[in-house]
């Protein structure tokens, strides 16, 4: 029993565009997502051919395929609430870095730092609102961040439960916890 690939909050490493750049690598730690969670979607990239054999009027059909790898989409749901500080210092920094052409490395779960992916910011739109408008408004809403693996990933990079750090976990994000 248990979960795989860690359970904690995500982080994004922003890598300078050039190797000899004076800029330093930055690691942006994002808050835990809302209840919709951090969802990984796997697009299985493959070649698939229908093959046919024939003769004497009898056709035999088989399917042959080769899985080449995976394009992984990571959707981070902050649609119910998101603290303004996380939004400004975290998400804005990522969006700015993506626009500036920096390389982004996503660590989906910070407690499993060995599992990381080079990604692109794949949002076509980004919505933002506030919860309970007016002077007492305290958090934002509607924000959903979407990353897609920049390369065809040859492996899912799944690790068994309790890999490296035997802390286990429920696999469920803790709603609203920092």
């Amino acid at each position: 029993m248990g979960i795989i690939n860690g359970y904690s909050s995500p982080a994004v490493k922003i890598i300078p565009a050039a190797e000899n750049s004076p800029e330093a690598e930055i690691k942006v730690e994002l808050p835990l997502t809302n209840s919709a969670g951090l969802v990984e979607s796997y697009e299985i990239k493959k070649i698939s051919h229908e093959l046919i054999s024939f003769g004497q009027g009898e056709n035999k059909i088989i399917n042959a395929q080769k899985i080449l790898g995976y394009i992984i989409t990571f959707t981070l749901h902050y649609n119910k609430w998101l603290d303004g500080k996380d939004l400004y210092t975290g998400i804005k920094q990522i969006i700015d870095a993506a626009k500036a052409g920096r390389k982004l490395i996503l660590i989906p779960r910070n407690d499993a730092p060995w599992r990381e992916f080079e990604v692109i910011l794949s949002n076509n739109t980004f919505e933002l609102g506030i919860n309970k408008g007016g002077r007492y408004a305290s958090t934002h809403r509607l924000a959903v961040l979407e990353f897609k693996s920049a390369n065809l990933e040859p492996d899912l990079k799944w690790y068994p439960p309790e890999y490296a750090e035997p802390c286990g976990g429920t696999g469920l994000p803790i709603e609203g916890s920092p």
């Binding site: 990239k45 493959k46 070649i47 698939s48 051919h49 229908e50 093959l51 046919i52 054999s53 024939f54 003769g55 004497q56 009027g57 056709n59 035999k60 059909i61 088989i62 042959a64 395929q65 080769k66 080449l68």
Partner: protein, 468 residues
């Protein structure tokens, strides 16, 4: 085994083949024939012999290995790039299509985002390979001395002597050519190609064996095709049958009744009613006179310039107005019939070869001898028949040949100017080819082309023309 691919080093399968490897494929992609096109002559242009080609895709996901252990990619696109492949596409025991793909006609596509992961071969009809060889050999190498007489069948074998090797079998119809012309004139003693007549033609060293063969085919009205000698596909060097056939035989044969899925109709270019074949021409100031025949469905006019005296010109066919007007002038010098090019008649484009009669050999009826202003002789004119007519023995009679040719081309001339495109279910029991005869609603149709072979649905698209 649907597809057998043999790999050779050399230039031409029929001349130079060093077997290198082979690959037998149990499967091919269901869309593995994106292009399939086999054609015969255009119904509007008899004598425009065509062949065809097909593209074959082979998936790189297939696991088959060649005889030497190469996978599909390495077999085609490995280090050895100087080769050609014989591709035998075997649909059934009686039906196969064969082509040659040279290394430069083989490509690999690895664009996986478009689901492409295959090798594609463009295969040219095997007949083209045979034609290429025969087109590279001079007609002067045909051993046909003065004084030698060969029947039609003997001549064809002599024509290709030294080229067929052990892998081309020349096949003739059951009925001999002599039997055909005897059906027209029963008193024909023999009908042969004469070495002397062939040797009158000058410049043979610059005329290919293939060209003279095609000219012979046009002039004598026979057709030809090449296909696998079924059963030899398992050999490293499969054999092919070079089949000589006459269209009027096919029309009289049992026709295939296809299972039709779709049908559409179109109208072809209107053909003139008359067809003109010119076997020998003599250009004078006033006209180009010729031996030959022109005919419609109901009438014929012909001349053999049977004038052994060397001075009589008529009867003759005369072209005037720069070849636009064609007349038949009878033995009295009276014009009996005049027709106009394109409006009334089209001609079978028989090449008129230069000839030299100064060899001192008997020349029969080639009147007159001083064609200083030009003229020529069709290759088919090397044939002559011996028979007695008008009370005289004649060993240079050409009328039976041109009348037999007329019978064959009458079939083409009868083809209506309607064309039907059919999608048919493939029948693996009967060999489908261009020039197959179909029977649809009690009417006969001739196949002009085959395209879009769909292996998944066992269908083919064919274009046919109705024969009256």
């Amino acid at each position: 085994m649907p597809v057998l691919i043999k790999k050779y080093r050399g230039n031409n399968y029929f001349m130079e083949r060093e077997f290198a490897d082979k690959l037998d494929l149990e499967f091919i992609p269901s869309n593995g024939l994106p292009v399939f096109r086999l054609e015969t002559d255009d119904p509007a242009q008899p004598g425009s012999y065509r062949a065809g080609d097909f593209d074959l895709m082979i998936s790189l996901l297939q696991n088959e290995r060649s005889q030497t252990g190469l996978n599909i990619r390495d077999f085609f696109l490995g280090e050895d790039r100087d080769y050609y492949c014989l591709v035998i596409f075997k649909l059934s025991e009686t039906q196969s299509f064969c082509g040659i793909a040279r290394s430069e006609q083989i490509t690999g596509s690895y664009t996986y985002s478009q689901n492409r992961w295959h090798v594609k071969l463009t295969c040219k009809d095997i007949l083209i390979e045979w034609a290429k060889l025969c087109d590279a050999v001079s007609s002067s190498l045909i051993n046909f001395a003065n004084g030698v007489q060969l029947t039609f069948e003997e001549y064809i074998i002599r024509h290709f002597s030294g080229l067929t090797g052990d892998i081309v079998l020349i096949n003739f119809p059951q009925k001999t050519y002599l039997e055909r012309v005897r059906e027209i004139y029963s008193n024909i003693q023999w009908c042969c190609a004469l070495g002397d007549y062939r040797n009158f033609i000058t410049g043979k060293e610059n005329i290919s064996v293939w060209e003279t063969f095609k000219e012979l085919a046009k002039g004598m009205g026979f057709n030809f095709e090449m296909y696998l000698n079924e059963g030899t596909e398992v050999l490293n060097e499969p054999e092919f049958i070079f089949n000589i056939f006459f269209l009027n035989d096919l029309v009289n044969n049992t026709a295939i009744e296809p299972e039709i899925i779709e049908i559409s109709e179109s109208i072809l270019l209107q053909k003139p009613k008359w067809l003109y074949l010119k076997y020998r021409s003599i250009i004078f100031n006033d006209a180009e006179y010729s031996d030959g025949i022109f005919f419609s469905n109901s009438q014929l006019f012909e001349s053999d310039t049977n004038h052994g005296d060397g001075t009589t010109l008529y009867p003759s066919l005369a072209l005037t107005m720069n070849g636009k007007s064609l007349s038949y002038i009878n033995s009295s010098g009276v014009t009996e019939k005049m027709i106009l090019r394109d409006l009334d008649f089209m001609d079978m484009p028989l090449k008129q070869y230069n000839y030299d009669l100064s060899t001192g050999r008997p020349i029969g009826k080639l009147f007159p001898l001083n064609e200083t202003e030009g003229g020529g002789m069709a290759y088919a004119r090397i044939f002559n028949c011996a028979r007695v007519h008008n009370g005289e023995a004649d060993t240079y009679d050409f009328l039976p040949v041109q009348e037999n040719t007329r019978l064959i081309y009458s079939v083409i001339n009868k083809i209506q100017n309607h064309s039907f495109s059919l999608k048919i279910k493939l029948n693996f029991q009967k060999r489908l080819s261009t020039k197959s005869i179909f029977l649809i609603n009690s009417k006969k149709y001739i196949v002009n082309s085959i395209s879009d072979l769909n292996l998944k649905n066992n269908t083919a698209e064919v274009q046919v023309s109705q024969i009256n």
